[in-house]
């Protein structure tokens, strides 16, 4: 059994707690959608997540506004259809929904490049969930920590993370675009992960 130690002071703890509550709102909505087919809860999810999905679709990409709107529709319908499999104890709603948006965008890029494959991104990169109880607690704390620390990242590291995660660019694509060595991209990503206290070993 792992002992998770936190070095947060009280103020940070309460900030974290208030953010937790907000996260729980979406997890509750998604659970209502999954269990009861609740359209009002789905509408709330739509109003929060659809504008984020559209921003994500347009982020650094060559997608047209039409493609972006189609992607938003496709992802929100997937959220509705797959919500029955969502378990709030295993994943935050935002991570679960982000994963679907990311995979759908990858599939859309491949379709637009006439890349014909029997595999969908959901087949190979679905949400990675763990069954272990201590992991869930550990992950929840990690998530709260990331939220708190992310605004303190130096701008060069934040910029690289945005290109890697929101624009979906590979490290070498980012290096090419910013005209910096690949090693610099990798080390900025690693420094950022360290600052966010992402843990690599037990």
């Amino acid at each position: 059994m792992m002992i998770v130690t936190d070095n947060f002071d009280d103020e940070t703890e309460s900030q974290v707690a208030s953010k937790e509550k907000r996260t729980d709102e979406w997890s509750e909505c998604l659970t209502l959608v999954g269990q009861n087919g609740d359209r009002a809860a789905f509408t709330r999810l739509f109003r929060h997540f659809a504008p984020l999905m559209k921003a994500f679709a347009l982020s650094g990409s060559t997608l047209s506004a039409n493609n972006a709107d189609e992607l938003v529709q496709e992802v929100m319908i997937k959220v509705w259809q797959k919500a029955g499999a969502y378990n709030a104890e295993k994943a935050a709603a935002s991570t679960w929904i982000y994963t679907i948006a990311r995979n759908s965008r990858t599939d859309l890029f491949r379709r637009l490049q006439k890349f014909d494959t029997p595999l969908s991104a959901d087949d190979i990169a679905g949400s990675q969930e763990s069954e272990e109880a201590f992991m869930m607690l550990h992950q929840k704390r990690g998530r709260d920590r990331i939220r708190t620390l992310i605004s303190g990242l130096p701008s060069d590291q934040a910029q690289i993370l945005a290109k890697v995660y929101m624009e979906g660019k590979s490290h070498s694509e980012v290096a090419g675009e910013l005209d910096i060595p690949l090693g610099t991209v990798k080390s900025r990503v690693r420094l950022a992960l360290q600052k966010l206290q992402i843990r690599f070993e037990e």
């Binding site: 938003v72 935002s94 990675q128 992402i198």
Partner: protein
Amino acid sequence: MSNAHPDLDLLTEYTAGSLPLTQSACISLHISQCTRCQRIAGQLADLGACLFEAQEPSTVGDAQLDAVLARLDEEPPLSYAKASKDIGNTPAVLQRLMRGDFSDLSWKNIGSALRISYLQTGDPQHELAIYHFKAGGRIPEHTHRGSEMTLILQGGFSDADGSYHKGDFLVRRQGDVHAPTALQSEDCICLVVLDAPLKFTDWKFRWMNPFLKLRTTA
């Protein structure tokens, strides 16, 4: 649990969704059997979600919402009811690329110790193949013109750097030379992703080099 893992750069690109399909499939198969990498990938997915939520939202009108609400009664595509369990020796991800089990694949013999079966993925830049080494078989020394990812699905092998077992994930880079030998105890089956053909350096096998073109279709 496995001792050889994808590095942090690969795990980051995997969770950000920027890896080629075949490499992503290989890494996801490793993660499905590695709690260490599950833990890291889970944190990295949470990071992606935090960045996603921190974006400046775009405008999405009520017409879009109405269009989605009108489509909620559509039947979900059949593909959502995908097979998610491994069948026999075939991991769930690979079931979409092959029929039956490893024994039902069509194989090409490369010397007496190795046979290869190429899987059709549609990825134009990478070859995804299953390598079957006979127990104790030695693979001729070869070098890599590009990068090679290997995931051990069964058995194990050793080379000058160490020995590797089921679930282990390895990357060889351009210019690395090695001559792996399958463990004596059982046949070794690996999933291999190549972005350029191998090149045999062992003189007895050099004649095969012109035949080792990258196969992105079976």
